[in-house]
Structures are given as C-alpha cells and as structure tokens.
Symmetry: C2
Subunit: 323 residues, 2 copies
C-alpha cells in the first residue's frame, strides 16, 4: 500500500484529523481506547481505497474525507468487537484494548465508533452511501456470526469459507470503493466496477493473510506462525487438507480441534501434509485469480495514471507477498 | 401505554412485520436470537411513540413504519449489548439471550440489528432522520460507558446521574418522537416540541423505573426488589442517601458497594433510611416534574384528540405508577 499511502498522504491527513475529531467525547475513556487502537499503526487500507477510488472516478469535492473516516470507524468498531468474540490478547503488536479496559468497554466503544461512522456518512448527504455501508455492516456482522458458528468445524465447505471471508473482509473493501462512485455521481457500471475492484482485492487480501498464517515466519509477519491453526480457526488450507486425507487422519485432525494442547506438537506435521497436497501453491493460485479479477475491474475504470499504477502495484505485490 | 397500544394496533402490525422481515438472515442464529428477545413481550414503547408522534404531526405516508422498526432495532441492539456488559442472567422474565447463545453471539447479533436499523432508516430517504438517530446512538453508547465507569461509585453528582439516564434512556425516546417531525416536514418548533415530549417522557420513565426498583414489590414488577442496589448499580435514591448521611454511615454504604454479600442483609435498613430522608417522595416529585414538562410540550402540539388524550393518560399513569 506504500505507493497509495504516499500518493494520498495529504488527503489522509484530512481523514486522520476527522478520525481524531470524531472519537472525542466528554468521557475520556472513549478517545483513550479509540486512539489506543487507531494510533497503533494500522495500515488504513480501507480509507486509502476510498481516497484512491474517489480519484479514479474524478471526484473533486471534499466529502470523500468523512466517507473514508467513516469506513475506518466501521473497521475499528468491528476490530473491537472481534477481539471480545475471539478473546484476543494482542492486536497490532500490543496488548488488546479489552485487556487494558475490559470487554465491556470494548463493546461500548465499538458501538460508539459505529454510530460515529453513520454520523460521518450523513455528512456526505448521499443516501446511497448510507444504504451501501449499512448493508455492508449487516453483512459483516453476518460474516462474524458465521465464523463464530464455524469455529472448529471441519466439515464446512469451501463455499462456506468463501462466504465468511467475503462478508467479514471483502465486503468492506468493496463498499469502501463502491461508495465513491455514488459520491461522484458516476454511471452505474462505473460503480459496479469499483465494487468488483474492492471485492476481489479484499478476497485476495484475506486469502493471502490466511495463507501467510501458515507459511510466513514469525519475524516477518510480526506474529506467531499458524496463529489461526493454534486458535482452532478453520481456514482454507486446513479445510482442504481435511477433505483430502484418509478417514483416520480426519479423526486425528478433528482431535486436534478438540485438544488445544496437541496443536503446537502437530503443527510441523500438518504443514508438511499441506505442502504434500500442494495446498499452499493452490491457495496462491486463488490469490492470483482474485488479483487478476481486481485488475480486470481496474482496467474498466479511468483516472490518473499514477493512481492506476499504484493500484496495479498493490495487486502485483499481493500476488507475490511472502510475509 | 395500553391506550396508545390499542389506538395504533393496526400500524404496529406493519412495524412487527418489518421487524420480522429485517431479522431474517441465511444464518438461523440471527433470527432465532432476535426473535427470542423481540417476542418476549417487550412493550414496544419507543416504536409506539414514533407512530403516535407521526399522528400528532399529521403525517400521512407509510415511512413511519420502517422508522418505528428502526427505533426498536436500535433499542433491541442496545439491550443485547447491555446484557453482555451487565452479565445479565435475566431479561423480560426469562434467561437472557447471552445465557442461551453466549456473549459473542449477543455482541454480533446486536451489531447486525444495529446495522439493520440504519438500513431501515435509509428507507425513509430523509437524511435528517439518519442524522438524529446516528447522533442518538452515539449518545446512548456514551451513556452506557458513563454508567459502566460509575458502577459502585458513590461520589458521582446528581447531575452526573441525570447525564447517564438522559443518554441511556431519554435520548432514544426523544429521537423516536423528534424524527417524525422531520419525516412530516413539520416546522422546526414542532420538531423541538416533539423532542421535548420524548425527552421528558423518557426521563420520567427512567426515574420511575429507578424509584420502583426500591419501592415496588417483587410480584407487581415481576422482578426482584432492589435489583439495582443488589447489583451495585448506583441510582438516585442511593446517591442522595449517601450525600445526606454521616461520614461513618458513608463508610458503611461504601463497604456495601464493595461487599455484594452484605447487601441483602442491609437492604431493609437502607430502605428505611431512604424513607426517613423522604427520598422516595422527592424522587416522585422529580417524576411529576418531568411528566409536567412532557405535558407542556404536548400542549404545543396539535393532532387528533384521542391520541393527545392517550399521551396525557400515559403521563398521568407514569406520575401515579406504583408497580
């Protein structure tokens, strides 16, 4: 994202200012907890997408700033609630906010940020923006519920896995891009291409994230290897492995889901089996597939060449990211 | 609320249908959990206020239905999150949803309902409606945070207590009334009177609720007497008592906040002391004050006489409610 980050650093300063303004409250806990997470070095991918897509569609106003801030507020709210659901102890390399302020504060400050997101959206005075982001929020919540229900469930289908990642990740990427089309009153097919761009970028991003969880080393990713697996979170490689092994191996894999303590011991064998079944290579092909679909959407859009190039670079680096 | 309930039963059927439609999801847990709470006999006070106020301002369209449903969705979402924060075991006379489905499901289904509320609001195509309800939602979240921070704190001021109840309860009552003015494109002063009506009704309602917690018998209220006190929740009578007793009695009161087990034993004495300081009578005067302020707002509004009478009856019965 570095190229986009540099290209839109001035615009992002406006967004950061709006974020700061919108987490202020007479109750100090609210800005304290919000800034703890907002200032912890998140990559601001989603608001950057909003800024960049606004540029692609030639939007010349200033309402993309509150819109980008709204998108980041929604994202931050979902992180706070996710951490309660996952009982997360770490987020962005430090103790999770819920460990510092407690689960209740995480839930309520999440609600506050979510409400503030809608207040920011109202500033755009564009009902279609509110419609899309409200719908995205419902779908994100559905994705989170689906993920909760699928925890440790090895019999879910590949389609089910894609349903989860589309909702919990790609939906907000898609909405963050799509809304700029309506803001700029662009033609419907432009809005559709923007949505496709965000959707496939989001899917590629999440697939790559789930792949790297198994293949990246701890140092490069800044988190422990196979964190998803160790927490009993079922992602694509684990699902696919389960579908390809013998019934006795399936029983063993199920026992690993039931016995947390056994997982670290089994990890090297699991990874070797995944390699043996070429799952990482196949998953990498899926990443490529979605970066290409995103590139195709990008090819249907106009906009400044340097922004288009920066988007292309993101897609390229996603396809080749190794850590 | 019986008179209003009867008067608007046809309209409420539309709202109930919208509520059912909007909690549907491909993920069964979402409608299951939502209906568990929605069908548990809530009084639908807030959507009734929306329907009744739409009538007061002579609104003749159908957009007050999604609006009323949105208001109930926001309320239901806050109840789900409240129960996680309070670790509530009971809600509307049965086991709380979080005991049945877990805290995580409560948080996520709350998020879903909150998002659906905004989708319903978008249907009104009235930005002012979204502005008011998004702002109300922020203020509700702030009220909940404030209440969380004030738990067991006996040194909070009366003003602080009113700040909490205004945000956590009266704000949504106020917004539920106010938005109908904008929907009907009524003059600004009408919108302001609607807001005052809801605000003071909400304050009277919450004050009465906090009063009855101490004075009602278990049978009449359908919940254990002095539940707030037993849970260490500081409300008006407890605050006022603390301000009026001697330092040694204050120390004893503080020790009750720190020792849950001591509270049931101390309860009869606490209630006797509250009587002795005329706190229940004074709190009743506060209820009257706010029902009168609501009546004053009502007097500035027009609308069908039977609806105005029904409102008047609610204010009267609030002022005299004993259980």
């Amino acid at each position: 994202m570095d190229a986009l980050s540099t290209r839109f650093s001035n615009d992002m300063a406006h967004v950061e200012a709006l974020l700061s303004q919108n987490v202020t409250s007479g109750i100090a806990l609210i800005p304290d907890l919000s800034h703890y997470l907002l200032d912890a070095g998140g990559k601001r991918i989603r608001p950057l997408l909003t800024l960049a897509c606004a540029s692609l569609v030639g939007y010349e106003g200033t309402l993309h700033y509150p819109l980008a801030a709204a998108v980041e507020c929604i994202h931050t709210a979902t992180l706070l609630h996710d951490d309660v659901v996952d009982q997360a102890e770490e987020r962005r390399g430090k103790a999770s906010a819920r460990l510092v302020w407690g689960n209740s504060a995480n839930v309520l400050v999440g609600d506050f940020l979510f409400s503030r997101a809608f207040q920011l959206m109202v500033e755009t005075k564009t009902l279609k923006v509110l419609e899309i982001l409200a719908r995205a929020s419902s779908r994100i919540a559905e994705g989170e519920v689906l993920q909760l229900l699928s925890l440790k469930n090895l019999t879910i289908t590949e389609e089910h896995y894609f349903n989860i990642i589309e909702r919990k990740t790609a939906e907000l990427f898609a909405a963050a891009c799509e809304v700029t089309g309506y803001l700029a009153q662009a033609p419907q097919d432009t809005c559709d291409h923007l949505r496709r761009l965000g959707l496939h970028l989001g899917l590629a991003f999440q697939l790559q994230d789930d792949l790297l969880d198994y293949t990246a080393t701890s140092d490069a990713l800044g988190k422990s290897i196979a964190k998803d697996f160790l927490e009993g979170k079922v992602t694509w490689p684990w699902l696919m492995l389960y579908q390809r092994v013998s019934p006795s191996e399936q029983t063993w894999m199920q026992s690993l889901m039931d016995n947390e303590d056994q997982r670290p011991i089994a990890l090297p064998l699991i990874i070797a089996m995944m390699h043996q079944h070429h799952l990482f290579a196949q998953m990498h092909d899926l990443v490529i597939h979605h970066t290409q679909a995103a590139q195709d959407a990008l090819n249907h859009l106009g906009g400044p060449q340097d922004v288009r190039n920066a988007f292309g670079d993101i897609l390229q680096s996603l396809a080749h990211r190794r850590h």
